[in-house]
Symmetry: C2
Subunit: 210 residues, 2 copies
């Protein structure tokens, strides 16, 4: 479905949120929802929702609203959640371990296939059912195995050199928690730089005078 | 400065990103930057940047651009980063420990003052220089101490009951990692629901056909 029409980045950023809510509705046995109720739930205007979903054909029926399961399944297909992706985690500190054990990876269709660290205290230990490998093996591992996504939870100073090795070894996507902006111009590589502090600052702004 | 003009949520969501980049520029000794270069760096159009900064007076000079340090300081003041906030972490698993030890809290002006967990394995241990307290003490602690923000890194099923206790004990902000949407209608409470999976799904979409 992806290739029928290119989805713009702002739309694409909203789709996981739609998907998340529809998954929850579906889990709770809700069969249909009006665009008005969906709008309230998701906190996006009904007209925005219609516009977004029209980008790939729309799924609503006038006077009925949306069929939850159908919309959920279609979004899953569009987002590629139904496909399987492979991921490695590089940097097995607390955040790396948290992500290794979290439902976020499997729920996004991602299989964790290896973890790497530099510390002798961590290498060889078991995390999320996998034995942590030495970072010195990461290049060969990525050349020999298909790795879609590298989760970067290593120190900031190591982010660029390690990511460069991985990109050259065929890794196509970086989920980057190192608080350093990565970009690969001229390479077919995607990056999501995650800055958790941004939402904390917004929160502090909201509470500052309350 | 906040009270001069109410800042809209979309603008407010972009400010921490501006701040982050300006902090980096400032750290690297860059004194001024043109709106064009700032635009490229931040990946927001120059006109959007001008519009956003004009909301509170603008800080650029025609033909000069922005003075990095001044703009950084002004944004810090607007965002309230220069104030100090107090935070507790509820749920000291891997994610809770990662956040306790991360630079995100101090860089956002937030002092961690206590951690709480339910597990006897964790209660009494030391994390980020603090002894983890029993969750049974959290209500009293919040009544007796000023707590601006509660970081929720506990299981999803506990999120709502615990957050309700905390809100009633005076906690004003929730940084919520539990993958369950919290909202408090009728209470003067702010929530940032963090869904890390959203950016992972976007990333998987980007890599799926590459």
């Amino acid at each position: 479905m992806k290739n029928e029409k290119k989805i713009s980045t702002p739309v694409l950023r909203r789709l996981p949120k739609y998907y998340r809510h529809l998954e929850e509705l579906s889990r709770n046995g809700i069969e249909k929802i009006s665009s008005k109720d969906l709008s309230k739930l998701i906190n996006v205007t009904a007209s925005q929702i219609r516009q977004d979903l029209n980008c790939f054909g729309g799924f609503g029926q006038q006077g009925y609203g949306y069929h939850v399961q159908t919309l959920r399944d279609n979004l899953a297909e569009i987002l590629g959640v139904t496909k399987r992706y492979t991921a490695i985690i590089v940097g097995v500190g607390h955040l790396g371990q948290a992500l290794a054990n979290h439902t976020t990876l499997p729920r996004s269709g991602v299989d964790l296939i290896a973890l790497f660290d530099v510390s002798p205290d961590v290498v060889g230990t078991e995390v999320a059912g996998l034995t942590v490998k030495n970072i010195s093996e990461v290049n060969r591992f990525c050349l020999e195995n298909h790795v879609d996504v590298a989760v970067l939870t290593l120190p900031k100073s190591e982010a660029l050199p390690v990511a460069t090795v991985l990109a050259n070894a065929g890794v196509k996507g970086f989920w980057n928690f190192t608080n350093t902006e990565l970009s690969f111009s001229g390479m077919n590589v995607s990056v999501e730089n995650v800055y958790m502090g941004d939402s904390l600052m917004k929160l502090c702004y909201d509470v500052q005078d309350s």
